[in-house]
């Protein structure tokens, strides 16, 4: 038998290496080695991010226009288009650092007035009645004349004291029973899931009523966890991080593709669970909360994220007719899904509506309270996917408009997520075309986040830096515009002013990506409303959720044609509503039950097969929109600017 030939690949910097078969895909080899490499297209050669440099050895690579000839000569290739043909030394260019913490609607934000409107304001009316509760009970002693089992007497006492009939006691609790009951003379503290009638834990004596829970949002891009005191609803601490699945594909579709590969599903499940474990560990360390006191976990996430978290194949979400395996996953112990540290806590998940309208949206709707109101509202979640729901207490209709990750920094060269050192606000001087920027956390900027990108496009359009198609006007004497042949960049921040010595700019390709994203969002809104014979002028409130940044300049979002041209007072920017909904559900059984009701209440519309949606999408590939009639106030602004 012939020996299977293998080639050795060394990666620099660092000292990692891997042996692979001839013709093996280089990007796959990099991933196999556990090295993070950007690739928003999932490895099909269209995003140009997985570029590496071949220092020694030979690869067979498909020609691509994404690498300039001069760099090709120096050995740069797209790893996804390259096959290994010899032993190699491969240089991995420094990836953009994304270690910084996601700026979330953190504690301070929640305490701020606007947020209070939906969380704390609501909170006052939330009757705190969590699923899981600790209770002190006394169990009857056995005797020769009363020789029933420990378990029987425990259940009897629970029924008499807590009104829960025939509660389920899992084996791990039964194992603790004999000692726990006798240690403090038949006095015990039980942790019990009231809704399901399940005994979660038993401890000897009176341990106090300390009881905590976790509200978790698993987003395509980020993870966030609230540690909550279940007695009073206080948020003790918040931790967040990137979803580590990003390196396997930036959007949902690429994750699903990866999950379909051999071992892919398990890998994706593993990395997200690991990351959640790390965050929980940090919360425990910082808060000094006892692991035994964390009793319940509430999870919200889009359908794909939930499938991956529970280790269920999301494959059919992507294939026509696009169905989920389940819209709601059953509750289980944390240990069963791989959560460490707090294995016995119970996990609940929020019910989704459909493949592309998941529990994160249901949760968001709960947070806004729009399902309780007569007035017509629109809920818009500008996450990696872009979902929208319109309706009121009587009816709701929802859709997903696959806007892509542009507003979370994906597909935009200098785009980053809303992290420290991200540019969140931009204004352009009409005379000099110089940019004024504001940076999250102060200091020097590293890139631009969603809210900054919306500002950039809006300002560039209003100040005449770009035309309505998003092409630079080259003859206006803009000295911050640098062109090489067809490739133009508008320099927003000089390299001296940035954190890493590189200039921060926006190119026509970036603008294209952002215009496509905003076109999908507006087309979604318009099409969905028309399905129910309404117009944007019928809307009384528009709630906007998503990790675009801390502040969103609604006016600029209207100027670029992403949001309908209606009274700015009707808009409410809420940040991450998915985790807020999970938080409310964690505290209140009633709220949790409402999420299922909301999910069943929403009628899902598939836009991907809707011709009108496509038509409006193309009309939206223009600033603000092909038909100016939709944006009268923008026309007026331009007219006034022209007059000056």
């Amino acid at each position: 038998m012939k020996n299977q030939k293998k080639y050795l690949i060394k990666f620099i910097p660092g000292d990692r290496s891997i042996k692979v078969s001839p013709h093996y895909n280089l990007r796959q080899a990099i991933l196999d080695c556990g090295i993070h490499i950007d690739s928003s297209c999932g490895g099909v050669g269209t995003c140009g991010r997985c570029v590496v440099r071949i220092k020694e050895g030979k690869v067979k690579t498909k020609d691509t226009k994404l690498i300039p000839p001069a760099r090709k000569e120096k050995g740069y290739v797209l790893s996804c288009l390259s096959k290994v043909e010899s032993n190699l030394t491969v240089e991995i260019p420094r990836q953009r650092k994304e270690k910084a913490k996601i700026i979330e609607s953190g504690l301070s934000e929640i305490k701020s007035k606007k947020y209070a409107d939906i969380s704390r304001g609501k909170m006052s009316r939330v009757h705190i009645k969590p699923w899981v509760k600790k209770a002190f009970i006394v169990v009857e002693k056995p005797s020769l004349s009363y020789g029933t089992s420990d378990l029987f007497r425990l259940k009897k006492s629970i029924k008499e004291n807590l009104g829960i009939k025939n509660c389920t006691v899992p084996i791990h609790v039964i194992r603790k029973l004999p000692r726990a009951l006798r240690e403090k003379d038949w006095e015990v503290t039980v942790t019990i899931d009231r809704e399901n009638g399940t005994l979660i834990d038993i401890e000897p004596g009176k341990t106090g009523d300390e009881c905590y829970g976790l509200a978790i949002d698993i987003g395509t891009t980020s993870l966030i966890i609230y540690l909550v005191d279940l007695r009073n609803g206080e948020i003790i601490d918040i931790e967040s991080d990137y979803n580590p699945q990003i390196k396997f594909g930036e959007d949902i579709i690429n994750r699903i593709i990866y999950a379909s590969k051999k071992g892919g599903l398990e890998k994706l499940r593993e990395v997200v669970v690991d990351s959640i474990n790390n965050l929980i560990w940090k919360l425990l360390l910082n808060s000094r909360v006892d692991t035994n006191d964390i009793v319940s976990i509430m999870i919200a996430g889009n359908s794909t994220m939930m499938h991956l978290f529970y280790g269920v194949s999301p494959r059919y979400i992507r294939e026509e007719p696009y169905v989920t395996v389940a819209n709601k996953f059953p509750c289980s112990t944390a240990g069963e899904v791989g959560i460490k540290h707090i294995k016995n806590a119970y996990i609940y998940s929020i019910q989704g509506v459909a493949s592309y309208l998941g529990g994160d949206i249901t949760s968001g709707i709960l947070a806004t309270g729009m399902f309780n109101k007569k007035e017509l509202s629109l809920f818009l979640d500008l996450g990696t996917n872009g979902e929208l729901v319109v309706g009121n207490s009587e009816w709701m209709i929802g859709a997903s408009c696959s806007a892509g990750p542009a507003f979370e920094g994906g597909g935009v060269k200098c785009g980053i997520r809303a992290v420290d050192s991200a540019i969140e606000k931009v204004t352009i001087d009409q005379q000099t075309y110089k940019c004024q920027v504001e940076v999250i956390g102060g200091g020097k900027p590293a890139g631009i986040c969603g809210s900054g990108l919306i500002d950039v496009i809006g300002e560039m359009y209003l100040k005449g830096v770009i035309d309505r198609k998003g092409r630079f006007n080259r003859d206006i004497g803009n000295k911050y515009l640098k062109c090489e042949d067809d490739d133009c960049r508008y320099i927003l921040v000089d390299k001296k002013e940035s954190i890493n010595g590189k200039e921060i700019y926006i190119s026509e390709a970036d603008i294209d990506n952002l215009i496509r994203a905003k076109a999908a969002i507006y087309a979604g809104i318009k099409t969905l409303l028309e399905e129910v014979d309404l117009s944007v002028y019928d809307l009384k409130k528009i709630y906007i959720a998503g990790g675009l940044g801390r502040h969103l300049n609604i006016r600029n979002a209207i100027v670029i044609g992403m949001l309908p041209d209606i009274d700015i007072e009707k808009y409410f920017f809420l940040g991450n509503t998915s985790v807020v909904g999970a938080y409310l559900s964690l505290l209140s059984q009633d709220k949790y039950k409402q999420t299922s009701k909301i999910a069943r209440h929403i009628t899902y519309i598939e836009l991907s097969v809707n011709m009108k949606f496509m038509d409006r999408y193309v009309a939206g590939l223009f600033l603000p929109y092909t038909d100016m009639k939709d944006f009268p106030s923008v026309e007026e602004s331009l007219y006034l600017a022209g007059k000056k």
């Binding site: 035309d467 309505r468 198609k469 092409r471 038509d615 193309v618 009309a619 590939l621 223009f622 092909t626 038909d627």
Partner: protein, 313 residues
């Protein structure tokens, strides 16, 4: 009771574009009703036929079309004259292929000189198309517009991503521009908006919504044109009121059924008859969809189409 033909009312009209000047001038567009609906509104200017003239002998034309132009292939001036005098072209559509770096790579100057020579020796208006990379076409059209200043020639073509140079040349030297779009009403409007915002008067724009021959997706072209005309006439949408040109000859003449000989496919019958029918029916469909200018190739097809226009108007 007598039967009354139900009539639509129209709120908009198609722009009138002037091609050529003085004795060569013709008007296109101006209709106030859907194509050939003369009973509903005025149709002041009938659709016109342009015949293709190349600056170089085409190397892939089948014999059945070559034979009509064999004696003029080496001279675009004579080719243009023959197309007008013998085949009845209303307009000449000159296609500059030698500018392509992969062909003769002739300079913008030289190309512009050819267009001037042709224009000065004919009594019909001139359309000029460039073939090659967009940057070269733009350079050439700049010169072409300059050297034909004020002659109201129609220059092809501009796209959304590449309109500024040619449009500026048209504005500077008073010529007209063809705005190409990929079978899409929204994109058609977007180009027209961009062009007018640059300062090009709306009545200097002719739209080309892209086209194809019968059997190769012509239904799609038909409905795109129909939507443009309906938006222009019934919704008075200013950015769709440009007349339409369909550059259909190259599309028809690359189709297998038009190119293959009778020897290769005896069951398809006479090659020439088949080709003429194919071009005629394709053009007829485009006329019914609202084409104002048809760019054609086969003299017999031209004659059939011109007869049909006469009958219908």
């Amino acid at each position: 009771m007598d039967f009354q033909i139900p009539k639509n009312t129209y709120t908009g009209s198609i722009n009138v574009v002037r091609l050529g000047k003085d004795n060569t001038e013709i008007l296109i567009g101006g209709e106030r009703a859907l194509p050939f609906y003369g009973f509903e509104g005025e149709l002041p200017n009938k659709p016109v036929v342009a015949i293709e003239v190349y600056d170089k002998k085409p190397d892939n034309w089948p014999e059945i079309i070559r034979k009509y132009y064999d004696d003029v292939f080496d001279d675009p001036v004579r080719w243009a004259k023959k197309s007008i005098d013998e085949y009845g072209a209303d307009v000449i559509c000159l296609k500059l292929t030698r500018i392509d770096p992969e062909s003769d790579d002739i300079s913008p100057e030289e190309a512009a000189d050819i267009t001037v020579k042709v224009r000065e020796s004919i009594t019909r208006p001139l359309i000029v198309y460039g073939a090659g990379p967009m940057e070269k076409i733009a350079d050439v059209m700049k010169k072409v517009s300059e050297k034909n200043a004020g002659s109201n020639i129609l220059m092809g073509w501009v796209e959304e991503d590449n309109y500024k140079t040619i449009a500026a040349a048209a504005i500077g030297y008073n010529n007209n521009v063809i705005a190409l779009n990929p079978l899409d009403v929204n994109i058609a409007k977007q180009i027209n908006i961009l062009l007018t915002q640059l300062g090009l008067p709306a009545d200097r724009i002719v739209m080309d919504p892209s086209t194809s021959g019968v059997g190769y997706g012509i239904e799609y072209c038909y409905s795109a044109m129909e939507r443009l005309k309906i938006a222009a006439l019934m919704q008075d949408d200013k950015m769709t009121q440009m007349p339409i040109i369909t550059n259909i000859a190259p599309e028809v003449w690359k189709i297998k059924e038009v190119r293959e000989s009778e020897e290769a496919y005896p069951e398809w019958g006479s090659h020439e008859e088949r080709a003429i029918n194919w071009e005629t029916i394709s053009c007829m469909s485009m006329l019914l969809a609202g084409a104002n200018i048809l760019v054609m190739r086969h003299p017999k097809a031209v004659s059939l189409i011109k007869d049909a226009i006469k009958d219908l108007m």
